[in-house]
């Protein structure tokens, strides 16, 4: 058996997995009956439907010929990991990690961290350029979000301002 469309095959797999998971999860809640639907009824229905659609997609991916095999292609690990890492680090800087006693470093430090890590995801990384970009974004965000929009942020590290 040859996979004729990789993209469809894995999409189908995803639909089946998610559908099954939701349907299985729904059985933990009260299903109820048509006239009195419990919290499990609708998700169970949808989950089964999604799993069926997934199965059909997989079937199609194995049967219907495509010109180039619709390959998924390589995964861009570098941008994927740096973008997500920059996001996570920003969150940690902003809120700290109370569970392990890591203090909040505030918005400004967070912006510098985010911009530097995110910039590593690109093709070229020029330290000076990134520094300027981070500074511009830090000042801009401070003016726009803290001054003008008065949104509530921890701006400075908590161990300095207390």
């Amino acid at each position: 058996m040859k996979i004729k469309s990789q993209k469809d095959f894995f999409s189908g797999l995803m639909f089946m997995a998610v559908g099954t998971a939701f349907a299985w999860g729904a059985t933990n809640y009260n299903i109820g009956e048509g006239a009195r639907m419990g919290p499990g009824y609708f998700p169970l229905m949808l989950g089964i439907l999604l799993a069926a659609i997934g199965a059909f997609t997989i079937f199609e991916a194995l049967v219907v010929e495509t010109e180039d095999g619709e390959r998924v292609g390589h995964i861009a690990w570098k941008p994927l990991s740096f973008i997500i890492a920059s996001n996570v680090v920003f969150g940690i800087m902003l809120g700290g990690l109370p569970a392990i006693g890591f203090p909040s470093f505030g918005l400004i430090v967070g912006i510098y961290a985010l911009v530097f890590i995110a910039a590593l995801a690109g093709d070229e990384f020029k330290f000076k350029e990134v520094l300027v970009l981070a500074t511009v974004l830090a000042i801009g965000s401070y003016v726009a979000f803290v001054w003008l929009l008065k949104l509530q942020f921890p701006v400075w590290p908590s161990f300095i301002v207390g």
């Binding site: 009195r36 639907m37 994927l80 969150g91 911009v115 929009l149």
Partner: protein, 504 residues
């Protein structure tokens, strides 16, 4: 006259200096962000949504409407200048618009898009105002069975118009519906699929989903491509205004496009998209005047007509949202999310319980359109400059604004983690060729569908036939079934695939 009366209430609300200012800021921000390459209207609205949190509801809605129009116009600008349609409905604009830009006629193309959109927006607003009241009357006659049937029709409509695989689009909708169910069930109080995480009992935030998929996912996918695969803007823009000849050709095209947009836009699903396609096809069918450039080679009618249709359709798609509370497309789904954040539940009751807000919003749509043309005709040069900003400066900024924006939704880092997770999921969708837009629509409709299904079934005492014995619900479902049958017909299927191929 009721209509004039109502509109004067609306303009009374919207024409205060402070609201005009918010509308202006909204349009400006929407255009600035929307013009940036690789950021579609969905990402733009999601990113700018937090900027409205601090405002009173009316001002916030007015600013949001401004952001919406700005981002739409920004999308057309990138379509014309960089050959990069930000969303499906500007796909046809690319065909002739980009060719015009390559011939150095980007200015007239942008002006045609702007003027076409403005005219269509004016007509669309009038139509919205005229139809809103009678349609709201109808809306009150809608029972839960009708609402459920209408949502089914809307979702099917969205699938039919999605490009690419039908079956995968259906899958994405179901996925969205299921994701929308995460959180506390309103009827039983059971926290579903929340794994004892307190934040998940409130459900997944639509802002986090939209930013993750359309912001982060797109960025990661863009960065994964080689530099030469990314579309960049290179040509020069000279002569911003259309010539007399251009005007003569585009005016009838704009009229035709507007007519089509108003008629088709009200259909649930993707009214704006359908009308843009239909308008382009219609223009192509009309005879070329002597000396006119053929279509696909930079004909100004090929820009003006679909842009007018697109905007009229977008305007008309506010009708089901405002009268029935049902978002007809993903952008509107995001607008529902925005309104809910401001404690406004869109639906027929808004007009009666809060007429100032309702008519103020409608008036602000016209103002938004007017702002757009005032702002854009003189500023085309600036937008063109913005397009030359290198991507390596842009994307860290986008990531930052998404993270800040989503944090300010609840002042909770949980939402930042959610954007990250949805970013990974969004990238996966792109890799698998599964279109994420229907997911967003399903996401908003999930809880609404469940609620109406439950109520309909409760009223019918568990009898499923209620959906086909009530005439209105039966005809809505019949229309949905018809849509599926039509699309599944071999000849139509081929045509549909051809249409999307031609557009690619």
């Amino acid at each position: 006259m009721d209509l004039i009366n109502n509109l004067s209430i609306g303009f009374g609300v919207a024409f205060t200096p402070i609201n005009l200012l918010y509308s202006f800021i909204g349009v400006l921000l929407g255009t600035v962000i929307g013009v940036l390459p690789g950021i579609g209207p969905l990402a733009t609205i999601a990113m700018l949504l937090p900027a409205t949190y601090a405002l009173p509801p009316i001002s916030a809605l007015i600013m949001l409407a401004g952001i919406y129009y700005g981002s739409q116009y920004g999308g057309s600008t990138t379509a014309i200048l960089v050959n990069l349609p930000g969303e499906a409905s500007s796909v046809v604009t690319v065909l002739d618009g980009y060719q015009m830009a390559r011939q150095g006629r980007a200015g007239p193309a942008l002006a045609a898009a702007g003027i076409g959109s403005f005219f269509a927006g004016c007509v669309g607003t009038l139509m919205l105002a005229a139809f809103a009241a009678p349609l709201t009357e109808v809306a009150f006659k809608f029972g839960p069975a009708e609402y459920f049937a209408l949502m089914v029709l809307g979702l099917i409509g969205a699938v039919v118009l999605a490009s690419g695989s039908l079956i995968k689009a259906v899958g994405m909708i179901l996925l969205g519906l299921l994701m929308g169910l995460v959180g506390t069930d309103v009827n039983s109080g059971v926290a579903r699929y929340s794994f004892d995480v307190p934040e998940l009992t409130d459900g997944i935030g639509i802002v986090a989903v939209a930013m993750g998929i359309f912001g982060y996912g797109e960025i990661i996918s863009n960065l994964g491509k080689h530099v030469d695969e990314r579309e960049v803007f290179t040509s020069k823009v000279t002569g911003l205004l259309p010539t007399k000849e251009d005007f003569k050709r585009m005016i009838p095209a704009i009229l035709r496009g507007t007519g089509l947009g108003c008629a088709l836009g009200i259909l649930p699903g993707g009214g704006a998209l359908l009308s843009a396609f239909a308008a382009y096809t219609l223009e192509k069918k009309t005879k070329l005047k002597p000396g006119e450039v053929p279509f696909g080679k930079g004909n100004i009618r090929g820009v003006a007509a679909p842009e007018a249709a697109n905007n009229a359709g977008a305007q008309a798609s506010f009708i089901p949202l405002l009268t029935l509370g049902i978002p007809p497309n993903p952008v509107m789904a995001l607008m529902v999310g925005a309104m809910t954040i401001h404690n406004i539940q869109p639906g027929p009751q808004v007009m009666t319980s809060n007429p100032e807000l309702f008519w103020g919003l409608i008036a602000s749509m016209w103002i938004g359109n007017a702002m757009l043309i005032i702002l854009n005709l003189p500023l085309i040069g600036v937008w063109v400059k913005l397009l030359t900003v290198p991507y390596r400066w842009l994307f860290p900024g986008i990531v930052l604004f998404c993270a800040i924006g989503v944090y300010s939704t609840n002042n909770n880092t949980w939402d930042i983690w959610m954007v990250g997770i949805w970013g990974v999921i969004g990238y996966m969708f792109i890799k698998l060729g599964a279109e994420p837009a229907p997911l967003l629509l399903g996401f908003i409709l999930g809880p609404m569908m469940e609620e109406n299904l439950r109520r309909a079934m409760l009223l019918s005492r568990g009898d499923w036939s209620v959906f086909v014995t009530r005439p209105l619900s039966a005809s809505l479902l019949a229309a949905a079934a018809l849509l599926i049958v039509i699309v599944a017909l071999p000849t139509v299927k081929r045509k549909r695939e051809e249409a999307f191929v031609e557009v690619d």
